[in-house]
Symmetry: C3
């Protein structure tokens, strides 16, 4: 009897441990190595998918997350990195993006899982390379895998229709007015919640809560980054629907959190540095919207990656002992 | 008299040595540092060019191969690498591609030779860099030089006509049916022989023979990769003419051989790893077909390079002592 | 009284030192760490902007240069590099390009200054990385920042009109004839002066003078590179207006100077090596003209960067103790 209990306890511990790793993977999308943050982000993501009536996106994302984590484990990847969720977040984002753009269905789901597996393999090099170079991979595996898989789908008879209609008009035309406070706030909250592919006020609050439970600074930089991004985007005269839907602001938000919380000692100079990076991310988002329009491909989080790489290599000038955003 | 004999012997030895280096260069296109493999590949390539009535392609390729090897020698490149044919294979591929797409004529031939010279210079860095990073250059010099030279030719009054007609319709429309076993086999064999720019059953058999004389495993992975690539491509619903002509499958075949034979100890996990890479190469080939269509540029072996880089950096997780595919 | 004098002397010394750093920054555009070279280049640039009636381009360039230098100083960048002007030249080029393509006006000026600041941050990594890799950054920060900022401007309501008209017809149609010696010489001199964004014979002479005061070899390679580039471009049959305006030749000139003067001991082999690089830059310029036309983006100095990177990594084979072109 006691052996049966011991066996059950062991199974139960394994399940808990696996859930913990995957929740940390969700948390790492916004740099939080914390299962509670991951659970709150998961609620944000679930509510976003449910309220937009695209539950298959949440299912695709979670399946790819689990597949990515399992792939890294089975390839004997560095155990600390696996447990910290470092192999999972790219899988989650890849699964969300592929099912979002390719629609529901078994083929799209299997394709998303395959994408998650490849994203984990693509992460093996950067995680090791992180050590000597100290430049984190950020969402590079997500970007490369999702772009390649979306482009490829144009040549697959099963996908081509779904894809062209979902990417071509990337935003729902919203009637928005930058001078109306409601539209401005919508832009700010959607810039937060679009990190998980659907703009939504409740999801934004859950996201902020998820950040705050692990790091009040991260929540502050996220909120500040969203306000700055929306303000600057309106000043530049970017199309206001793009701003209000949050599609212009989610990469600048990620940039603000990454640059603002990567240093051990926050200071006024760090805030300035993060603000400059957020500004550069707004410009880069607009640049990639223009560059990728003819292909057509969504920029995804590429503006964040580009700015974060350029700014990260210079962080040693601000701080003697910088660290990776994802611990 | 004996001095004359000695002199002749020396010249003869030099000629033999030069032929050996260049044959190894041909062999390195499919990772075989072996002059006999090179000779059989050369027969495959020669027969492909002859039967397609494009002998100038074979001549351009060989001229660029010799020019590349001579350039590396005269720049005092690492001697072991030169002798192993590491500076030659990119020159050969560059010469084949440039004369294939720009047609016959002295100008195209000279342009191909210049391309071969630049490809050897471009290879000097990666061959040295290979040591600390352990990520081989694969066909990166071939890709960069050929893309740049083909794009440039659009602005040269001597080439522009030839180019636009040869790239625009990249395939001969073949009436093919995936369910017919003959078309399926054509796809498999053409995926092998397209490595040397012309699909052809006899060339495919010569290529397999060239692999088998140096490594039975390489021949097995090539054949297995071709079958897997053609099967998966049909399942994805890729245009069947692209598959049957071999244009969809040659990069996956290169990927299968590179990932399958780079490990010292073959195992079931290595086979799985190579199969996953082959699958990713099929997807990447379709993606680059879509991405490069508007420019227009042929994807060449870029799908192989992209997948091989992403997968190679993770090989240390499967094998403690990995090696470069090209010894 | 003597304290007042001492204070004035200190201020005067600071002003002189700041002017020295910025003049060296101008000099570094063509690899000369010398304030006199910088002053002569500045005269070339000023005359070019004045005679073409675009004074705002010179003002934008200088403002961005100063902003870039100040940014690097305030971020505690390596002091020797700051004093050598290594953080300034990308800022200058970024400011020139952004005001040239986006026109006069306060918004464009502020945008150019922001670009200069980001270019200095982007340079922090490469300057440090230069040491172990020994591959200089060249104008990579200028390229990335200018391309991103120009692309982004397409989505900004304040810029979009100015941009589309200035990039779309990149050259003034000149009636030129390669066989007329006057047109040939125009091509040669404009290939020199286009480095500072405006073709012009007097500016070309000032540029050569600026090179000669620091390095006669640099002046020789610049002149030789321009003659070779114009000759080869005509032989390839490139549109003659592109050649005569200097737009085809300025990247080959930079390549000739960089490859020709980076070695301690000049020799016939170094001349051959530089000539081969110049030839490759002519081809690459034509390739990028074709590749970037549909976006549309100007190639800027990308052909120089691409060729210089590929050729620099191989310089260790020619010279045991290579150095960076920018000391």
């Amino acid at each position: 009897m006691s052996r049966l209990v011991a066996r059950w306890e062991k199974i139960f511990a394994s399940v808990l441990s696996f859930a913990d790793v995957n929740l940390r993977g969700v948390g790492q999308v916004v740099f939080q190595n914390n299962p509670l943050s991951g659970a709150l982000f998961l609620a944000a993501l679930g509510w976003g998918a449910f309220s937009a009536n695209v539950p298959h996106v949440a299912i695709g994302g979670l399946s790819a997350l689990i597949a990515a984590t399992a792939t890294a484990s089975s390839l004997h990847a560095d155990e600390t990195s696996v447990r910290g969720g470092l192999y999972g977040y790219n899988g989650l984002l890849t699964g969300l993006a592929l099912t979002y753009f390719l629609g529901p269905g078994t083929l799209a789901w299997a394709y998303a899982v395959l994408g998650g597996v490849v994203s984990a393999i693509a992460m093996l090099g950067p995680v090791n390379a992180d050590k000597p170079w100290r430049v984190p991979a950020h969402t590079y595996p997500f970007l490369v895998v999702t772009w390649v898989f979306l482009l490829a789908a144009q040549g697959f008879s099963g996908f081509s229709d779904a894809y062209s209609t979902s990417v071509a008009p990337p935003i729902d035309p919203l009637a928005s007015d930058p001078l109306r406070i409601a539209d401005f706030l919508d832009g700010v909250f959607n810039s937060l919640s679009q990190i998980f592919f659907k703009g939504n006020v409740l999801s934004a609050l859950l996201l902020l809560a998820g950040l705050a439970v692990n790091s009040l600074a991260a929540a502050g930089f996220a909120m500040g980054g969203a306000v700055l991004a929306v303000t600057v985007a309106h000043l530049f005269g970017i199309e206001s629907e793009l701003i209000t839907s949050g599609l212009q602001g989610f990469s600048p938000v990620l940039t603000a959190v990454a640059l603002g919380t990567v240093f051990y000692q926050p200071s006024f100079r760090v805030v300035l540095f993060a603000a400059l990076g957020t500004l550069a991310a707004v410009v880069t988002q607009s640049a990639l919207d223009a560059a990728l329009a003819p292909i057509p491909l969504p920029p995804l989080s590429a503006p964040f990656d580009l700015v974060a790489w350029i700014f990260f290599v210079s962080r040693s000038c601000l701080d003697r002992q910088p660290r990776s955003a994802r611990q």
